[in-house]
Amino acid sequence: MQRALKILGPTALALIVLDVIMGLWVTPPDEVQGDLVRLVYLHPALAWVALYVAFGLAALSSILYLWKRTRSMTFDRLAAASVEVGVVFTVLTLITGSIWGRPTWGVWWTWDARLTSTALLAVLFIGYLALRRVPADPEVRAKRCAVAALFAAVDVPIVHFSVVWWQTLHQGATVLNANLSPKIHGSMAWTLLLSFIAFTTLFAWMVLMRFKLEELTTEGEDAELAAAIDARQAEGVSS
């Protein structure tokens, strides 16, 4: 894992720097959105990582934990790491989406189906993190969190359809026609792809780091406990 981290870290950094340079300078402005289109090399990648990569990994890890044949604390830690990094990316998705929306739509927020679903997903993720902080036996906590992640995963499609139908019924009343999805070609397309790869790489590094932190924390606690027990026993021998 050390080696993976050593490779992923600098790679992610390099790819993101490249993405920023391409996005802010090299690529041309859009015919419709002008310079605003440059946010397409940031926002969709963040959304992709948050909603599909992070959440998908969390759900998958949780299922693997719950299934007796593959149960292992590794999956619990992976799920927890995924969710925490996922929350960061989700919040950033909302913020960058909002910043893009303001000049495009004239408002900082709108009850667009995607924004709404993403906001709800953020709250579901945060609920998972809150549950994680409840003091409990590690295996109890792992089981509870895995189940919560599973509930959320199952809920997501239902939420998605509900919100889309809820939103489309209001379409007529709004003035929001400008889409956040411009037409993409040439260097723009390559940079877009680059952004996805760059942020996925960053996610991978962050999840591994967070996973490592989780591992070290539990091992650290075990080591401290063992040391304390040894110290106590040493006292008993000498007296």
Binding site: L124, V140, V147, F151, A152, D155, I158, S162
Partner: protein, 222 residues
């Protein structure tokens, strides 16, 4: 499984019959929220009538969490858990039983709230064929989610603040679909869209009940 469900449900209901907490606390709370909504939005009759579907479901949602906390508090005592284990009760049955008891309370609550909303917010129902099923399906989904998340949320002190945070985002589809179904049963001739929302409520109810039947046992083992 069904026998155990009946056992647990009747126990929960008997406790409620004796303590009357749902009757004297949860129900008044729900009616209170209607009052508070009116204070918040102002007495303009058009606005309240238009918001009524959403406000109705908000009241139901909050009251359900409250009722669920109560139900979980009863179940959570060590004595009850040991008794369940000693009796060899099927955990799926326990889940269904708790779901059933809570469901009865919530359906009764919905009926009273419906009367309240009709009276105070000047709502006139035109399509009962959409409204009644929506009330029932939504209640099943809500209660299933609450019993499930309730068993996740730990012991009472933590659960008091954690359960709302966990369960309310998860039941957002019920709020959306329920409100839409209610709206469509108040507007004449809008049965088409009502069916779609009943579908959402149905799927939610089935999914969460199924999850409960399968996962309640493993969850409670801790």
């Amino acid at each position: 499984m069904w026998r155990d469900a009946w056992l647990v449900a009747s126990r929960d209901l008997r406790i409620e019959a004796r303590s009357r907490v749902a009757l004297w606390q949860v129900l008044p709370f729900a009616l209170l929220t209607l009052l508070l909504f009116a204070f918040a939005l102002g007495p303009k009759p058009g606005l309240l009538a238009e918001s009524a579907p959403g406000l109705f479901w908000l009241s139901v949602l909050f009251a359900t969490v409250l009722a669920a906390q109560r139900s979980l508090a009863i179940e959570g005592t060590t004595a009850t858990k040991d008794a369940a284990r000693l009796l060899g009760l099927d955990p799926s049955g326990v889940f269904l039983g708790r779901l059933g008891a809570l469901l009865l309370e919530i359906v009764a609550l919905e009926a009273v709230l419906l009367a309240g909303v009709t009276l105070f917010f000047h709502v006139r129902v035109t399509s009962w064929a959409v409204l009644i099923p929506s009330l029932l399906l939504a209640a099943v989904g809500l209660c299933a989610a609450n019993v499930l998340y309730g068993s996740l949320a730990g012991e009472a002190r933590v659960r008091a603040t954690l359960l709302p945070l966990l369960v309310l985002p998860a039941v957002a589809p019920v709020l959306i679909a329920g409100s839409k179904a209610f709206s469509s049963s108040v507007v004449a001739g809008d049965g088409g869209s009502g069916a779609r929302w009943l579908g959402v409520l149905g799927v939610f109810a089935v999914v969460y009940s199924a999850l409960g039947i399968v996962l309640y046992g493993p969850l409670e083992e801790s």
